[in-house]
């Protein structure tokens, strides 16, 4: 009896949204296996491809989760990804720099970018959406300043090796027509993404910084009265997010191996949608990166559906994702209304 009570309490409230997401993912995945079995939807490799395609998004969504938990928002991430890819492509192809130093410069730039945004938001108290909207246009324009032409990364062998290295998994093999066992594989980008996810999960759950983030999102006033350095924590959240969007850009670039102005336009929407679908409340104070991970997977399944269908145009990706985001934020606000009525 006590156990059921406990389970009920755990599921109630914000966790409920996470449960909805996970159940939804399971249903969508099973439906996909049934409907698109001929296209090989049920293969382990299809699932791994979802991870490979969305490795960058997993990282960016983790950072977005932290920012949204503080009660803020960052819509500059899509442009930051485009800018990171362009910087990497420019430095390696045109300037002939080593992959490691190019990546290091991009990551440092991400930290600086995040610091400026964080400073404006937490110390000058300017609304996050204004600052990050400006950041979004700034980064996109800067990308165009570096080059308006597409730069493909063709000559940096180290970078290409890392991009295309197959890491085979010891399970989930399928036997093809010739009787050869094919093991599913992932790229290093997936490893980076999952490690980042795990680190952010740990930081949010077990560190002082993580607990402060939740406290500030729950109520900034109380956090201030508790003696937390609200400004510093908020600023750190944006710095972390700046770093993660640059890291996400690097991982994204591993997939595309090129830089161009229009790259990753609308990516901020995907990151916010994944986060919200994963049960993070837009009002702040509640959320997990695990939920955001499932949010990314749901977005990946929609993409795979649309691709497997074959007749729908790719604009449907954005439209369906927007509808899903809309559905989940309405769900959130309904829950908030119920809670307000109760308490």
């Amino acid at each position: 009896m006590n156990l059921i009570e406990q389970a009920k309490r755990k599921v109630s409230g914000s966790n409920f949204l996470l449960v909805v997401t996970i159940v939804m993912f399971a249903i969508m995945y099973l439906a996909g296996i049934l409907i698109y079995s001929r296209q090989g939807f049920g293969n382990m490799q299809t699932f791994m491809n979802m991870l490979i395609d969305n490795a960058g998004l997993i990282i960016v969504a983790s950072g977005m989760t932290v920012v949204i938990i503080t009660g803020g928002i960052d819509i500059s991430v899509g442009s930051m990804i485009g800018l990171s890819c362009m910087m990497l492509a420019y430095m390696m192809e045109i300037k002939g720099m080593k992959a490691s130093s190019a990546v290091a410069i991009v990551l440092v730039f991400g930290i600086i970018f995040g610091s400026v945004q964080g400073w404006l938001i937490s110390y000058l108290k300017i609304q996050p959406f204004i600052v990050t909207l400006a950041g979004m246009f700034f980064a996109r324009g800067l990308t165009a300043m570096i080059s308006v032409d597409q730069i493909a990364i063709l000559s940096n062998q180290n970078f290409l090796d890392m991009a295309n290295k197959n890491i085979y998994l010891p399970f989930g093999a399928i036997v093809n027509k010739r009787g050869i066992k094919l093991f599913p594989f992932i790229h290093p980008s997936v490893v980076i993404a999952l490690v980042t996810l795990a680190v952010i999960w740990y930081v949010l759950k077990y560190t002082k910084f993580g607990r402060s983030v939740f406290a500030i999102g729950g109520s900034e006033q109380s956090a201030l009265l508790m003696g937390l350095n609200v400004r510093k924590v908020k600023m750190s959240a944006y710095v972390l997010n700046g770093f993660l969007s640059a890291l996400g850009g690097f991982v994204f670039c591993l997939n595309t191996t090129s830089g161009f102005v229009e790259q990753a336009r609308g990516f901020e929407m995907e990151a916010i949608a994944s986060t919200v679908i994963g049960g993070t409340l837009l009002t702040g104070g509640v959320g997990t990166v695990v939920g955001s991970f499932f949010g990314v997977l749901i977005k990946a399944i929609i993409e795979t559906y649309i691709r497997s269908n074959g007749t729908l145009s790719s604009w449907w990706n954005k439209i369906v994702l927007s509808l899903l985001l809309c559905f989940f934020i309405v769900l959130q606000s309904v829950f908030a209304a119920i809670r307000r009525r109760r308490g």
Binding site: I73, I75, L120, Y123, L124, K125, I126, Q127, F129, I130, V131, L133, A134, G135, M136, F137, F138, R140, G141, L142, A144, M145, V148, V261, G266, E268, M269, I272, V276, L282, T283, S313, W315, W316, K318, I319, L321, S322, L323, L325, C326, I329, V330, Q332, S333, V334, A336
Partner: protein, 354 residues
């Protein structure tokens, strides 16, 4: 009693003076730079029966932005924001042009109906945003992000053309009838570009409605404290909702003008980066980004300043892709100047030194 009234009046006048100082100063600055660079800047001549010159060009091109800035001012005054205006413009333009069709002889739908449909679509989009923000209490940024992303996708689907017996979406549809070009160009025998008239009419109508009715006051109340507004009997939810609907309406007007300028609907480029320009115009107009008090005149001057800035930057060889960098910096500078924290910090610093 009359003393206090006059005191309030004079204080109010001083405040308005202060508010309009920033946009006027910025406009002055941009114009001065232009005059130094091109001495013929203020020359106006009549060529081919229409007015011609830098100034005319800037005022003409700024029409859409002025219209958008009016709607954006209302939304920001209620304490919200609408970043979907560019996408809504593209969507309305797509609807309008799709309805008009690209025949050489006649319109598929009468032009008035097509334009009304486009305006209706804009209002529906605005109502969708408004519903999410006012009724469901979702942050304006995220609520309007939905249409910001999906709007252009829907516009692409609407911009379909029959190719080989199949409707293919994502096409640029051209309107070939001459009369449609009048909206974004010139009406016969009129030397002033039509968009200028439309913009002036929109500003005038909104100004009259906001000052002659209590609506302006209601919007300010909701923006300053929506709870207090509700307690004195103002339907805050409806006022916020109305703000978004009107913003959607202005966005669709801008979309129709833009599509008329290029005789076509280009779902990728109509209203591109317009949301930043509109927000920038409102910020530059001395309006608080946190809502509350607003000044339409400020936003209009702000919009013209932004267009002057854009034209000048183009003249200096900055490409359209790079333009946002400068504008983003200007936005951050303006909101930083407005920031109370910065003022406090500077005055504290000054105090220490003295």
């Amino acid at each position: 009693m009359s003393d206090t009234l006059s005191l309030i009046k004079s204080k109010g006048r001083a405040l308005v003076g202060q508010r309009l100082f920033l946009p006027l100063f910025a406009l002055f600055l941009v114009l001065i730079v232009n005059v130094i660079k091109t001495p013929a800047f203020f020359n106006i001549s009549i060529q081919n029966g229409v007015l011609y010159g830098y100034i005319i060009d800037i005022i003409n091109r700024s029409s859409e932005l002025v219209i958008l800035a009016v709607g954006m001012t209302l939304v920001i005054a209620t304490g919200g924001i609408d970043i979907s205006v560019g996408a809504v413009s593209a969507l309305s333009a797509a609807v309008c042009v799709r309805l008009l069709g690209s025949s050489y002889d006649n319109y598929a739908t009468p032009m008035v109906l097509a334009i009304l449909a486009a305006l209706a679509i804009g209002m529906i989009c605005g109502a969708f945003n408004g519903l999410l923000v006012s009724k469901l209490r979702i942050q304006a940024m995220v609520a309007t992000l939905i249409l910001f992303t999906a709007g252009r996708g829907v516009a692409q689907l609407i911009s379909a053309r029959e190719i080989g017996g199949k409707m293919v979406p994502g096409q640029i549809i051209y309107v070939r009838m001459e009369s449609f070009k009048g909206i974004g160009g010139f009406l016969p025998k009129v030397i002033v570009p039509t968009p200028v008239f439309i913009a002036a009419a929109v500003v005038l109508i909104f100004y009259l409605v906001l000052t002659r009715t209590a609506l302006g006051l209601y919007i300010k109340t909701v923006g300053i404290n929506s709870r207090a507004g509700r307690l004195v009997g103002i339907n805050s939810t409806f006022i916020m909702f109305l703000g978004y609907v009107l913003c959607g309406l202005t966005a669709s007007m801008a979309g129709v003008i833009s599509s008329s300028r290029i005789y076509s609907s280009d779902a990728n480029n109509i209203g591109l980066n317009m949301e930043l320009d509109a927000i920038l115009a409102v910020a530059l107009g001395g309006n608080s980004m946190a809502g509350g008090k607003f000044s339409l005149a400020g936003s209009v001057i702000g919009a013209i300043t932004i267009q002057a800035l854009t034209t000048s930057l183009y003249a200096m060889g900055v490409t359209a892709d790079q333009l946002p960098v400068y504008k983003a910096v200007v936005v951050v500078l303006i909101v930083s100047i407005q920031s109370e924290e910065l003022k406090r910090w500077i005055s504290a610093r000054g105090g220490k030194k003295a």
